[in-house]
């Protein structure tokens, strides 16, 4: 077991998979000599060459559709967007093409492709480079959506995504790139669609994912000092959603706080709350389910305001305390 950063885990997963399977290639902007906007593919050009690490023009729409075509024809493309906000440019390629080709063609093709992209706020990049748009894609049959919080999960889930025969969106929180954690030296894969109880507890369930999950764990430590035993559930995969783990935890604690950076309105938290409300866990609830997502506002540039519009350790702690009153 080595302790590495989330960013290193992504790089390692990509390199190991590229070495394992010749059919995998990568497309994106400035991935070669530059190593990608966040340096994920530093050194890849030397090892894999231009044919497998393709620097594209700045055309997310065009090269994402090209990846769909290459996937139909037997390859396993991995596409990188510099920032997840640029999914808007490629929306047709993802929603109308990648997600639907297999179905519309009566199962004649597979679309084994991964779109991975840095996401989220906290870097002072303002409203067009800081969003969390993952919920959009959870609404589309045919896509899978993964959003890990730790280096261990990131590596195992990225490998699973690359080996999956379906289009997968893989969101990497750009502040979360520096999170450190233990990662096994040997090859491993984490199954898509399984949540993980990151901290077991009995008094309250905090459900989260991505970098907000790290904040939730710190909030749980603060709660512990107050004598409160919080359970923290990491969704890891948003679609397909692990409803069983959610329901079991809600039944166990009877108090549920769902927190994420994406805008709260119509967000992932609404779906998770719906899952609990639709299930027998409803009868175990001691308090109404509490959602705590991002404010309904574009991410402001001003650093003080940027921090205020998404959940933070202290505010997650406060919301949890309210539920325990």
């Amino acid at each position: 077991m080595a302790v590495i950063t989330f960013k290193q885990a992504i790089t390692d997963a990509l390199r190991e998979e590229m070495r394992r399977d010749e059919k995998i290639f990568m497309m994106g902007e400035d991935m070669g000599i530059y190593g990608g906007c966040f340096g994920i593919t530093n050194g890849f050009l030397e090892e894999f060459g231009e044919e497998r690490l393709m620097d594209t023009p700045i055309v997310e729409s065009g090269f994402t559709s090209m990846a769909v075509g290459a996937a139909m024809a037997g390859y396993r493309p991995i596409v990188e967007y510099m920032f997840s906000d640029f999914v808007t440019i490629a929306m047709d390629a993802l929603v109308n093409q990648a997600a639907k080709q297999r179905f519309m063609l009566g199962g004649q093709v597979k679309i084994p492709m991964v779109v991975r992209t840095p996401t989220g706020s906290g870097s002072g990049a303002a409203a067009q480079h800081s969003q969390s748009l993952e919920a959009w894609f959870c609404h589309v049959p045919g896509l899978k959506v993964i959003m890990p919080s730790t280096p261990y999960d990131a590596k195992g889930l990225l490998k699973a995504a690359i080996r999956d025969d379906n289009p997968v969106l893989f969101f990497e929180h750009k502040i979360g790139y520096s999170v450190k954690g233990e990662v096994p030296d040997d090859d491993y894969v984490i199954p898509i669609g399984k949540a993980d109880v990151k901290r077991a507890g009995k008094d309250i369930t905090i459900i989260s994912y991505s970098y907000t999950l790290q904040k939730a764990l710190k909030a749980a430590e603060m709660l512990e000092k107050d004598g409160i035993d919080a359970e923290v559930v990491d969704l890891r995969t948003l679609s397909p959603l692990d409803t069983q783990t959610i329901i079991e935890s809600a039944k166990k604690t009877g108090r549920v706080l769902i927190t994420h950076e994406g805008v709260q309105n119509y967000g992932v938290g609404a779906e998770v709350a719906g899952v609990i409300g639709d299930s027998e866990a409803f009868f175990y609830l001691d308090r109404p389910i509490k959602r705590f997502g991002g404010d309904f506002i574009p991410i402001p540039y001003s650093p003080e305001l940027e921090a205020q519009v998404v959940p933070q350790v202290e505010t997650i702690y406060e919301k949890a305390k309210e539920l325990l009153k």
Binding site: V59, T64, A73
Partner: protein, 318 residues
Amino acid sequence: MKLSKETARDMLYKLYSARIFEERVNEMFMRGMIHGTTHLSVGQEGVAVGAIYATNKDDLMMSSHRGHSHCIAKEADVKKMMCELLGREPGFCKGMGGSMHIVDIESNNYGANGIIGPAIPIATGVALALKKDKENKIIIDFFGDGTSNTGVFHEALNMAQLWKLPIVYICENNQYGMSTSVEKTVSVPNIADRAVAYGMPGVVVDGNDVFAMMEAVGEAAERARRGDGPTLIEAKTYRWLGHSKSDKRAYRTREEEAEWKAKCPIMRFEQYMLKDGFKDDELKAIYKQAEDYMEEAVEYAMAAPIVSLDEAKSLVYA
């Protein structure tokens, strides 16, 4: 250009089949036998047949929402096409796609797209895969005049030329995007002129002349196969019927339609065959053969089952 008797016969059969298929589908829509919508390619059959016969069977093809003729030229069984239009289980896509999504991967028909534009980069992505495969195959990509105005058309042509991909772009200029004429939507006299922007050859062809199509596509296909990159071919043709089933064609005159009908690609191909020594009766027999098989296809499709909802759901994910 001189064709073998067998090839000429085969091509005429495809031309007739394409025409009869569209006429039959049109009639079935009028009579309420098919639901949804459809885009018919009557008058444009020469583009499809000429282009496909200029390439090899193991070359690939990608089509547009107006794609029935392309499929028939690329050996699609009209029985399975008719099943697809009727939403039946034996259809190419098990009835999940319908008129706009007839795809047959086995016969290298990578199919059609319901959205204007993205099929071009998808075909370009297939071309990227073909280049990686190094099996000397190419793909031809059919699309319409309106599609040449989309952003992804320009994005894809730029990348195809940058990476010298084995693809032939065939813009089927049928003069109208739904009701709007090319004069109102395209900023250059010829769509083929747009090739200049990407440093690739741009060729204007009479799309109603099967031989001219074969020649232009044949040359572009060889160029692509040699590794010299893509070509943009503009095939000038005409859509005889409306855009889709509800179109009254108020945006053009009957005289204009008559002018184009006089340039019918099938009639011109028949004239070649008669000059080549075929008898009128032989041509009529080929037509009858295509017509009879179409009737068989309709009967077969009408009686075919539909897939269960459970099976449909199982197709969403691999």
